[in-house]
Amino acid sequence: MSHTVVVAGGNRIPFAKAGGPYARASNHDMLTAAIDGLVARAGLAGERIGEVAGGAVLKHPGDFNLTREAVLSSALAPETPACDLQQACATGLETTMYLANKIALGQLTSGIAAGVDSTSDAPISVSDPLRRILLKASRARSAQERIAAFAKLRPAHLAPQAPSVAEPRTGLSMGEHQALTTLRWDIDRAAQDELAAASHHRLAAAWDRGFFDDLVTPYLGVTRDAVLRPDTSVERLAALRPAFGGPDGTMTAGNSTPLSDGAAAVLLASEEWAAEHHLTPWAKVVDAEVAAVDHPGGADLLLAPVGATGRLLARQGLTVDDIDLFEIHEAFASTVLATLKAWQDPEYCASLGLDGPIGACPPEKLNVTGSSLAAGHPFAATGARIVPTLAKLLHERGPGTRGLISVCAAGGQGVVAILEAV
């Protein structure tokens, strides 16, 4: 019942800063563009794909069937079914696993996993009291009842509500939470700025060598990631003022991901389907693990992937030495650095129930073509950006090479996955 699942291609649009070139593009538009680029690259126009799974973190109420609607706007056959999934910043990795599992079980032979987010086109909602008044008025059976409903309206009810990135249970923003982790794990400013600079330089080098020619399709005239600053340096980053953690904070706009717009998609298939469709499989999906920490209870909000990593490696009988490439999502530079420290901390790993420390990740194996600090982080799209990037990198290195993906997510959650080149 277990079929080999391969990553047979990927596509994303260049990512951009919120309010930038995609300010007027909707999630629907961007997701459709990401799917269409993938369809064109793989020659799937008019094809019925087993299932498309996509999602967005910031979603308009009218987008209840976002992915299915994007499929209908795309060049895929309209008989292609779709569903929406959402797991905060891990959405794009979770959609990948959802489809990979179905393919492994033989329920599907092909699927497209995707994620999209627009922080530019975020939904604005009305206040709860106003919503209650409007609903009551719509249920009213007479003009009098309707007037009575509206009589309760107060000016304060009219203020629009923008979505917030604050954690509902703590009221702290993600940056504020990470500032606590940064302090707790004693991550210094210089290390964060170095990681951020390396991310930009590595992503720029990958663009320059044409690495993204078959991973990205331009959109609305944007041909490269608009967040990317190839000429940034540790010195320039060192000059930035702290953004989180108060005046003595070490986290800046330079070593934190900006709010971004973008979409990404991954083509997953059984080996047979990929061969029938003349597609070169880059890597197989080996395994994955999802995890959460007790963040309202004081745990580090963005370190949930640590436990998942330890358990996943143990289950697969692997150690960090068996991993050739690591892709750790750069929500903040300090998230990556705290994760790496936690991997090596015997006490912390023991507290997670692991048999010992996970081990050290050599810097030359980490995020070799840059990550979210340089590319940007349209929440749900990030996982679907990383999966094809890593699969292609592993393919370049040859069969049997392994890569590990670690993505943290809001709510104290995280998803970790292992790919292996075929």
């Binding site: 563009a33 269409d36 680029g37 369809v39 064109a40 690259r41 793989a42 020659g43 126009a45 008019g46 060049a75 044409g210 993204f212 020619d213 078959d214 990205v216 399709t217 331009p218 959109y219 609305l220 041909t223 003349h278 597609l279 070169t280």
Partner: protein, 449 residues
Amino acid sequence: MSALEKAFYSPVGRKVAAKAGLHEPPRLRRGREFPTGAIVLAPLGPSTLVAETLALLGRAHEAPVIDFGEEAPGYGDRIGALVVDATDVRTIVELEGLRAVLRPAVRGIERSGRIVMIARPATGADWEADAVARAIDGINRTVGKELRGGATANLVYAEPGVTPADLLSTLGFLLQGRSAFVDGQTWRVTPGGAPAARLENRPLDGRVCVVTGAARGIGAAIARTLARDGATIVAVDIPAAGEALAAVANEVGGTALQLDITADDAGARIAAHVAARGVGIHAMIHNAGITRDKMLVNTDATRWASVLDVNLAAEMRINAVLLDPATEGGIAAGGRVVGVASTSGLAGNKGQTNYAASKAGVAGLVAAMAPDLAARGITANAVAPGFIETEMTAKIPFVQREIFRRANSLSQGGSPVDVAETIGYLCDPGSQGVTGQVIRVCGQNMVGA
């Protein structure tokens, strides 16, 4: 659109322009439509080559009206085409036969009608016959200029040994609307052992055609036209044009390959893309090109080099890889290489030394390649577009553009599909006998040879 252009195309403007002699250009017949009127066949000797070719085409033909006397006789109903089999014409005296059938036909031909002459090329063996062969070329060019209403004249030099099957795709192309913007042209058909016994509507079924510069304009039209003819399209363009490229690839059900053709590994990546799909290339269409226009006095080494590299050197590098028989996913035996030259290259064009060099170079290249590839059944040809209505030419100032448009025998700019149809004809397996040729798609532009 400029105010001047709007005024020109307004109802009043059109009337004024017509009074000034700038008439509405004729609407051209396009696609796989044959002429509506009768096809008249005029054999000027015992040859049955053209009669047999028409039979393969499944087109009936009628006898010509011949002009014997002072009063030119006429056709009753307008005729759709006159096809002249002049393969037996060797002497100056015999040229009279051409005049005698052309005179009534030029007068009696329908709009978008066709005059097609088939003659023998010069051989170097007989001075008078060679002079006559060239004389027919002069007749063709002049008839092209005298015809009105979108009718065209073209000449085919059929080498001795050419069979009706060899001639089939060429005569079919010339009679159909596909050749709408090909006028006053002459090219050669050699005995090619063409397999075709009839004209196929989808001659490229199951064949892979690679088109560079496919994201827009002429390249997109080539992708669409070859796909209509059955081809599986690999649409290539620079990564920056990827969005439009994806749309074209999805429209034609092909694949998009984002690639800078000047990259060292461009040929290898094209081959790998095709090899992964388990096939070889039937046709490689080198359409991608750039302009960096400046008068020669302002042309620096950078402008010079970039145009020559993209338009000519890159094409040669890619060919070298794809034509290597060891390359998996390369050009298969019986395949096609098509270059895109330009009338600017053939005739020269002010401000385009670099471009003219590259485009004339393409013409020279296919002529050089053709004999070397003949043993593998691979043909190499080029098309040379004249003024074609594209996003690129839409940027030319209106008055200048209107002059360019009208400076040909059809008084209009061509459509990208006209270039694409000509390329489709060259890619047809039935066009095996057409190689080393440059076919201008220019409506018989006034400039150039």
